[in-house]
Symmetry: C4
Subunit: 226 residues, 4 copies
């Protein structure tokens, strides 16, 4: 697929593309992204498609036209922008995890600092137990350009409660039942990565007992919110 | 109480709910909260009631209708939102500390980093002596869902001059004679948690003599402001 | 002097009070202040007076009426707000350093972290050599309420090229030929305190030779700007 | 050249000066600059000229009139502001690196912290491999006022893939095929300086194999974006 191929904008899925474009504002507001890095995608309900940010599009200029529609092999099928260079990874996850409807990728600084050491974030905060159900795990080093990143995400998250994985030397990938849920996971990943970083700088934060982690996780997944 | 129970908005205490909704803007401005975490509550003067943020309400959408009126057992009595999941803790504090009229809860990152190590913040700044009258103490680990958190707050603050407590592995709870005073205490807690964190990163900050702490505290509580 | 004494606003020096009120926006923009901490003052040209922020006034509400006119003993002579609790220190400096026309006080976090360890900031940046002509020195511990703070500022800055002093366990005081120059010094103090802090966290920053510091300082004081 | 010399504004190259003035907003948005420090320049296509920020101009007041046109010896030829005190360094680079059309200088804090230790930033992030093709190198200590800084930039970058150099005890200089490309390099320099700083604070980040660095760099320079 080349950039030229997508210059046939038909404007399908416009409402969902507007929604996903707007969700990127959380990435800038919480300072999870720099320049054009980072992206949000969402599965199109009932179709073998997903929508994802265009490659190298600046956040200030991101409208629905900066979001491209792709099939589940990562080929652009509608849009004016070549899709994100991370499209192959998103596509792999949608093909292999049918319950996932939304994904986010960032290089948010505190979380990526753990990823550069290939070190999981230990569960030392009740908010981590709530959201992640335990530590945030590390995935393998993987080069861009084939299924390596996608496979690393799927393999790591398949054996964890966490909706977030720290890909070694790279950054954060999160999944969720919707794009907004994956955005929330990305925001909370940076939040806890930062607080645990601060805590470790001056000593050893105390682990929460697994039993208590389990209780907090079960309660939060069932009770919180409206 | 279920969410359905509160769908009988009568719009009582609207002015106080607007005031408390507006106070939450300090939490976002000073970056004490992430996503929907954190909450402010205030006792209703002359009634066995308090108002508190609804659970999982986003800060951008927080109006008086995002604030729910509760009785002192934490049951919602007016509003359209289920009250904060921290309502039981607030209710316990109002029942047991009659001089407290406002409370704030956050996971502000520097203060929560101390909480994750269960380490009090030592009094090494004149601003800490002014506001907190000594170190900011640590409360016990407590699970959400019963009176444990409230009891931990009350027991810790009953033997301290500090209006703030760092609940272990969790975050910050502050009290005050009004919601705004508790907000100020939450803002100042993060401020001093951060500065003392920075100071400790490169050596050992110097303790202020207890005698001087006492003088600063006495003066500040009586003289500062208009 | 009591708050009641100043409720006789005559509105003198309004233009200068507007100017000084507006300068406080630099303190919030660069995050040098939290809640109502921090203040800017300026000598009134040709009169034995200075103008200074009122005590406990919030930055969002700071207009010319939040600035009070004082004599050089620190007594309010015009305004509706009791002057800053740091007024005695400012007054002492104006009485003793006739070339000083502006002053700023903050608890900016990185600089105050050095102050809490009573450690001067070493001159390891060309920007520090430019602005401060060497290290930023530490002043003594001093209680508020008499001339101790002012005396500490004057004694420390009298033997330094630096327009900024880190008062032990307290915060930053800066001086300048105008209030704006003192504001710039406060902004640059936090900037270099932060960068040198970061540098020291991972090793030992390299000192600049005194000879080079002298050249940089001489050049910057004479050539920079318009 | 004195300030008076440039008070003969003819308004040439207005469009490019507007463009370069506007690019400075990235420096403030990403907090790369403090007060008036930092500057962007761009070569005038087809002429032996470049445009650069005026010395000591505040960012809030920066319009096309705050940008001065210089010849390749650094002499102002059109404008109302004396050009940046870093003009000699920019001029040297334009004279010696004909493929460079844009430059940026900042004292961005994390990158400058590495510069103060004269320590290169190791390549431990895939985003660094993409953008910088390896570590970000350190240039020599150099005084302002002659060609020393320019020579240090050119010598360091001539033997590196990186578009950014950390000048010892000073700050960041970046180059690019356009001013915007150099701005992006400055933004990404601070981004990776910060993440690698965080990672090193708690251990040793893992180096990426040179082979993988080469693959990532080749791919990114050819494929990314639209």
């Amino acid at each position: 697929m080349t950039a030229a191929d997508v210059r046939t904008e038909r404007g399908t899925h416009r409402e969902q593309r507007e929604h996903v474009a707007a969700l990127h504002s959380y990435l800038t507001r919480y300072q999870l992204v720099t320049w054009t890095s980072g992206n949000v995608s969402e599965r199109v309900p009932g179709e073998d498609l997903f929508v994802i940010k265009g490659s190298g599009v600046e956040y200030d200029e991101l409208t629905w036209e900066g979001i491209t529609v792709c099939d589940l092999d990562g080929n652009a099928v509608d849009g004016v922008k070549r899709p994100s260079s991370d499209t192959d990874a998103h596509a792999y996850v949608y093909r292999n995890l049918p319950e996932v409807n939304g994904q986010v990728h960032t290089h948010s600084p505190y979380a990526t600092a753990w990823a550069a050491r290939a070190e999981e974030i230990p569960c030392v905060l009740t908010a981590m137990a709530d959201e992640f159900g335990g530590p945030i795990p590390v995935g393998p080093f993987a080069l861009i350009g084939d299924d390596s990143i996608g496979r690393g995400i799927v393999e790591t998250l398949s054996v964890s409660r966490s909706p977030a994985v720290l890909m070694r030397n790279h950054g954060v990938f999160t999944i969720g039942p919707s794009a907004k849920a994956a955005v929330k996971a990305a925001v909370m990943t940076e939040d806890v990565a930062r607080t645990v970083h601060f805590s470790r700088q001056l000593g050893e934060p105390l682990l929460i007992d697994q039993d208590d982690v389990d209780k907090l996780y079960a309660r939060y997944q069932n009770v919180y919110g409206q």
